[in-house]
Amino acid sequence: MDATAAADKGEAALKLLEYADPSHFLSPSADLVTAARAASQHIYSSLVPLSPAQPPSTLLTDPAFDAEQIWSQIELLARPLLPHLRRQLRRLEQQPPSQPQATLPLPVEKPADSEEEEEEDGQGSELDELKELEETDDEEELSDDEEDEEEEEEELDQRAHKGLEDQFLKIGEMAEFLDKGDEEEYGGGANRGEEKKATKNWMAESDDEGDEDRDEEGDEDLEDFEDDDEDGEGEDGGGIMYKDFFEKSHNRPAKKRDGSTKKVQFKEDTHTMELDGSENDDGNVEEEQGLSTHEKEQLKARAKIEQMEKAALESSAWTMQGEVTASSRPINSALEVDLDFEHNVRPAPVITEEVTASLEDMIKKRIAEGHFDDVEKPSLLPSKAPKEHKELDESKSKKGLAELYEDDYAQKAGIAPAPLAISDELKQQANTLFKRICLKLDALSHFHFAPKPVIEDMSVQANVPALAMEEIAPVAVSDAAMLAPEEVFEGKGDVKEEGELTQAERKRRRANKKRRYAASHKERPAKLQKD
């Protein structure tokens, strides 16, 4: 009785949550919390016996436990359970549609248009339930429904295939294997026949994705449901027949909750609608998921290429445009850009203390050496001959005027040599020097004899006998310079010495002498007398 009481409590809690106003959930309220915990506990305990693994039998929902902890407990239960249930479901689908199983509430089964409201209600309740339990129990509810459905399908299968199966052949397993083969070949079953394809697509999809994707898929499914509800209502679903779907479904037991079958139906609906060519995001998503990785990468690359092409066609920013004047870029934009370029010019030298000190050192060194680069005075070489300055002698001339005239005449006649001027003297000296040199050179260089030139010179002649001179001087010396015999003795004819004279000749000489003396003495006494 404890169990039933607990079950009733759980049911009551569920009912409470179901009928609560959605706005109440926005703010935390204690009774909703307790109701949620109780409900989850009830569901948990109802699922525990069905799980293949052995999870703990009760869900601990003390107020101390927070959502994470409760959720992890539920997951402990759900994880091994879900694949099991999915397999069962698939098997149930494989069953021939003649099997009477579920008794779904008709409004849901009928096409969307007529039963919109009811469906909506149903959906709404279902949605509410879903939203309520999203925190704690998304998967569990789904799995719950799936599990129920699969249970029924299993029963159906077992009934149908009892004749065929034995210990080796299991129709269910064969069906699975075949499904997998189909997926590999056709890439997700987009080309197959409507119903089976649709369902199989869904099943395959749910099976293909790994455990990690379970949650995602669950969410996706839920999203799909939300979208689908609207879509399902709006469209007619051309080509779908009642018997395609509901021959299978009306085998299910009536106790099935509305939400589950609805869910299944809507999923199938949407799939068929996709196949008819309606554009559906979900369908596209599913199609994409059916593509291979290479195709996915290709799609991504293509998208990127398009983006880059678009960017390339547009005009680029001003910084990339080459030579840009101020008018073609926004105001002050050059200040914001970090411009950097190499300077080829050496910067001006900064005059620091060290530079000045080094300069001054150099200057001091130069001063100490006395080494300056001044402009130097040129050494003057005579470009003209020095002017001849005529010196005026101011002393009274010793010569009388008549004598001066006499000298002039003599010069003109060529009797007396011209008086030497100062420059003439120099010239004369130069001339004599030159003649002497030339004479010496000629004597050295020429073979034939040239006599010494006559240099008229007033000079004292030494009356040295020629013999002495000739001994020293070379052959070239002539004795023309010596005194001539007339210069030695001037006289006539018979020249006798004292010893050679006769008496008469002696007397004669004495007489001549007296006469000469007397002649000269006549003048003298006249002079003496005057004095």
């Binding site: 080829n344 010019v345 050496r346 001006a348 030298p349 900064v350 005059i351 530079v355 300069l359 001054e360 150099m362 200057i363 001091k364 130069r366 001063i367 100490a368 300056f372 680069d373 001044d374 402009v375 130097e376 005075k377 040129p378 050494s379 070489l381």
Partner: protein, 313 residues
């Protein structure tokens, strides 16, 4: 007068053009002489001309060498026969005459610029210091140059400015001579130095010159241009003007020195403005000629601009 000037200018340019060939000849003779002295074989490129050149070498006399020595820097050895009409032909008579300089500025000078120009130590022989505001001065550069030539001025110096800071200097040697264009940087005027009173009056003696690190051909050319702005100093002058070349920037310094403790200790006192000169052009003509031939132009935007040292290592 105009024709005469044109003829003189053409003569000048013609002689300049000849000097290239002359210098080449001189170089060849020098190499042959060197080879003969060292006893090495004569370089193979000169084999054809060797006979003729040797004959000329033998006939060259010592007097010619001694005569021209003073015209050139100490780089030439005494034994070489130096060609007379090389680049510094314009400055041949400058050593005999004293330089006469005209200092002027650009149009409408500001007062700091006038102050700067006033204290440039080139005003030793300044006959005319005319900062362009004087009414007697002509407005056009060609007229200025004509006026200077007729007054027998040897050099014309123009100073340019930018917002009070002097930034350009143009030195033009007048009878058709070369023009050097400088940019001025890091100018520190006498005005900026606070304790002006301690500096006292600027000495007016003829200064000694120091020209440091002008080792290339263009460097020597610049050195002669700057050198001939100053007259021949007395040997005991205490005033020093320095042009030091560091990395193609010529530092100008003006000092007065004393030797208080005997010949070894030297006390330098800085006087006058201080600036850096940067040569950017030498033209073979006066300032007013716009189409004058360029001897040297600065190229700062070529790829090897950083490595270039045009004025001296």
């Amino acid at each position: 007068m105009i024709r005469r000037n044109q003829r003189l200018r053409r003569e000048y340019l013609y002689s300049k053009s000849l000097e290239g060939a002359d210098r080449a000849q001189f170089e060849k003779k020098r190499r042959i002489r060197q080879a003969l002295e060292e006893g090495k074989p004569i370089p193979t490129e000169l084999r054809n001309e060797e006979h003729e050149l040797r004959r000329q070498i033998d006939l060259e006399d010592q007097e010619r060498q001694a005569n021209d020595l003073f015209l050139f820097c100490c780089v030439w050895r005494l034994g070489d026969a130096v060609p007379t009409n090389i680049v510094d032909n314009e400055y041949a008579t400058a050593t005999i005459r004293e330089p006469k300089i005209m200092l002027t500025t650009s149009r409408n000078p500001s007062s700091p610029l006038i102050q700067f120009v006033k204290w440039l130590p080139v005003n030793l022989n300044i006959m005319f210091f005319a900062p362009y505001c004087c009414s007697f001065l002509c407005q056009v550069i060609s007229e200025i140059v004509e006026a200077c030539r007729s007054h027998d001025i040897t050099d014309l110096i123009l100073v340019h400015e930018h917002r009070g800071k002097p930034d350009g200097l143009i030195v033009s040697h007048l009878p058709h001579g070369p023009t050097a264009y400088f940019g001025l940087l890091n100018v520190v005027t006498r005005h900026d130095i606070k304790d002006r009173k301690t500096m006292g009056k600027m000495s007016e003696a003829y200064p000694h010159l120091i020209l440091d690190n002008f080792s290339t051909k263009i460097g020597e050319r610049t050195a002669t241009i700057l050198k001939h702005l100053f007259p021949v100093p007395k040997p005991d002058s205490k005033r020093i003007i320095t042009f030091a070349n560091r990395d193609d920037y010529i530092s100008f310094r003006h000092h007065v020195y004393e030797k208080p403790g005997g010949p070894k200790s030297i006390d330098l006192k800085e006087v006058g403005p201080r600036f850096e000169l940067r040569l950017y052009q030498i033209k073979l003509g006066t300032v007013e000629l716009s189409e004058a031939k360029s001897e040297f132009v600065l190229r700062p935007y070529i790829n090897t601009a950083k490595k270039q040292r045009t004025l001296g290592a």
